[in-house]
């Protein structure tokens, strides 16, 4: 068991998350977010999800960070001190957390090989990927073939993001019409 490593990683993630909330220097926040992603990626490796770890590292720690810095470069680097009372958000968050925690009480034990998800659907992928698809990486097989349609959707999402960013940023900067006085 990697219990100690688990605990250390999760504790670090918690600390990073709290620091993200508290810090107002946004470059630091961006860096912390990137660290959070790296820690998550490490967890993914521990949890046997190599592809996910790879992606999380590339996306969370790489692309997202570059994008955020690029955006901050255009917008400024510090956040103002919060004026509003945090009471309502705290309430919402605690309530949501409690409900979610309550719901997790009936989950199968962590790592339990007899959990339903290991007995239904997934075994077929592990058994049949070899004979049916003929490649060793089951994740790729599921991603591109068994659930290939999801991945078509995923590719479309990426395309949509590129389209959206282009729609928003590529035009020459026009003066926006001043808000209609009547509305």
């Amino acid at each position: 068991m990697n219990l100690v490593l688990d605990i250390a990683l999760l504790a670090l993630m918690g600390i990073v998350a709290i620091a993200i909330i508290r810090l107002r220097d946004l470059v630091a926040v961006t860096m912390l977010a990137s660290i959070y992603s790296l820690l998550a990626a490490t967890m993914f490796v521990i949890l046997d999800a190599a592809d996910v770890a790879f992606t999380e590292a590339a996306v969370g720690a790489g692309i997202s960070t570059v994008l955020m810095l690029a955006a901050l470069n255009l917008t400024g680097f510090t956040e103002k001190a919060p004026l509003r009372s945090a009471f309502v958000p705290v309430l919402i968050v605690i309530a949501t957390g409690l409900v979610l925690g309550y719901g997790m009480m009936d989950l199968p034990r962590y790592g339990d090989p007899s959990a339903p998800i290991h007995l239904h659907v997934a075994p077929k992928y592990l058994q049949d990927t070899g004979p049916e698809i003929g490649i060793p990486n089951v994740v790729t097989a599921v991603l591109a073939s068994y659930r290939g349609y999801d991945t078509l959707g995923e590719t479309t999402v990426i395309f949509t993001a590129g389209l959206g960013v282009t729609l928003l940023l590529s035009g020459r900067r026009r003066r926006r019409a001043t808000p209609e006085s009547s509305s």
Binding site: T140, L152, I158
Partner: protein, 140 residues
């Protein structure tokens, strides 16, 4: 960064390596971790690195936006087109088994094709997004 010779030399050496690595991840995704998406990100990153060091204009000369915009769509079209092709050949949508004479060969072919589509879209979108953000000047 344009006047930092070390960075420039390093980048010149690094970019081809990164590109190569990206291609490796693209074609080797069936056997180990990685695939079209990860490869696309890496390819994109190589260009982004190039742009950061040699300047946006250089990056735009290397991969013009006029090519990237259609490319981002073509990736999706390749992916979706494979599905249409399998319908033409009598299968259900994205049923790669009908693409080649042998079911397993068809699957492999289909996966390779769609992963290529994913890679093209992801790489071009990554670069597009980077160029759009950095191409926007700070408001005067």
């Amino acid at each position: 960064m344009n006047d930092q010779p070390i960075a420039r030399i390093l980048t010149k050496a690094l970019v081809p390596l990164v590109l190569l690595f990206g291609l490796y991840v693209q074609v080797h995704g069936e056997a180990s971790a990685g695939g079209g998406f990860q490869a696309g990100v890496i390819l994109g990153a190589a260009v982004i690195l190039y742009g950061l060091v040699f300047g946006l204009d250089a990056a735009k000369r290397a991969v013009p936006l006029g090519v990237l915009y259609p490319a981002s769509g073509i990736g999706v079209l390749i992916y979706g087109g494979v599905g249409i092709a399998s319908q033409m050949l009598g299968g259900d949508y994205l049923d790669y088994g009908v693409l080649a004479g042998d079911f397993v060969a068809g699957q492999k072919l289909g996966i390779t094709l769609v992963e290529a589509g994913v890679g093209i879209t992801v790489a071009s979108v990554m670069i597009i997004v980077f160029l759009e953000f950095t191409g926007r000047r700070d408001p005067a």
